[in-house]
């Protein structure tokens, strides 16, 4: 079965032809040129494919493209339209990347966390990011970066 799916991608309306069985991740990468979400495990366990749908982090590798009809989909490309975000700057400063493959997913999950809870404790950071895997095991620097974001937000009274 074929569908014309219309949704908002990074702030702009898009329209794309898909089959029912096409994955959102593949459609984003292969048909719409959005390549920050990565194919990692393909079963929703590693978080490398994370995008925000209506503000909530979702695994695009286990989402059918037809399911996003009418939704707001945001990937890393959408977040950094006006340059790196506070979270991205903290990742860069803390060298919170090694190979970088997991980084877009981490930044998306971290963005949702900070939206809901601007100054999380380290425990809350670890709980929220537990579903993102970094095979280089760069977790310490990622948590350091997020602690810094949390502290900054607290100082700014957020």
């Amino acid at each position: 079965m074929n569908h014309t799916v219309k949704f908002n991608l990074n702030g702009s309306p898009v329209e794309v032809q898909v089959k029912s069985n096409e994955k959102l991740l593949d459609v984003l990468r292969d048909k719409l040129g959005v390549t920050s979400p990565k194919f990692g495990c393909g079963v929703g366990e590693c978080g490398a494919c994370t995008v925000l749908i209506d503000g909530l982090s979702v695994r695009s590798c286990i989402t059918f493209a037809v399911e996003v009809e009418g939704k707001n989909v945001v990937s890393l490309e959408g977040l950094q339209a006006d340059g790196p975000t506070k979270i991205q700057k903290a990742f860069i400063k803390n060298n919170a990347f090694q190979c970088g493959f997991c980084a877009p997913g981490f930044v998306m999950s971290a963005t949702e966390l900070i939206e809901k809870n601007p100054s999380p404790t380290e425990e809350e950071i670890r709980h929220a990011l537990a579903g993102n895997l970094c095979r280089c095991t760069g977790y310490k620097n990622i948590v350091d970066a997020m602690n810094e974001v949390s502290q900054e937000n607290k100082e700014e009274g957020r």
Partner: protein, 293 residues
Amino acid sequence: MENFRYLKPAAIDKALSLKKELGSKARFLLGGTDLFIQMDKGFVVPETVIDLKGIDELKGIEKKDGYVYVGARVTWTQLIESDLIRKEFPALWEASDIVASVGVRNTGTLVGNICNAVPSLEGGSPLLAYNAAVLVKSSQGEREIPAADFFTGVKKTALADDEMVTGVKIPVKNGKFGEVYVKMGRYEGEDLAQAGVAVVVDDKNNYRIALNAVAPTPVRAEKAEALLSGKKLDESLAEKAAELALESISPISDIRSSKEYRLHMCRVMVKRALMASVSRMETGKPALNTRLI
């Protein structure tokens, strides 16, 4: 993955008439965090997928006439963010907060979890311990299935081909109570339970204990409950009950742990969950999400 027909009806009646017509050739889709993977691997090849996310009647958590109703579309995240669930059903809250990861909890649902009915399911034990009922509809009518009768085997439920689970119904408790859900997993973030225990106690010394991932279905530890019934808990009684709880389970060895380890840990977990439940009832501590293992 095979291509399929994707339909997104806006009303329950429409979805039910489609299911009656198509039977096992059609599957209902909620969050899809289980179904998608089964389809992707070719374990399930439905001709039609009926997405229920267009049906508003399946939304929402509502307290009415002594029960809390959780609709089929309610996600784990919505359960976690519900003050009602946090205050009145802390074991369900704790179980919800430890399912997989945020990215899965944002789309995955309690009802999808029980319909998938894998032995490790997080949603089963709290519902059994609450004596909850599963609300079922078909184009012929509706019925309620007690949670304990809903699960009939590994990935098997009492649901007929033309039926839909529209939600669950959990009795509201009167008086003081204490609850705990404790999960043993290898790491936080996506790992399935090696074992899980839900305990609900009240100030009349009624005890309800349910376990998951240690039998083909979630199970109540009825012998242990009978031993405890009417008695005030102390450490040695909790130990005896935990020992007796092992008679209600039949764990297997698999990739996540051995049968022996599961048996050993269930004894530890049931004892700690009992002690923590009573302590929560009396003192409000340990706080939600405190690590018990």
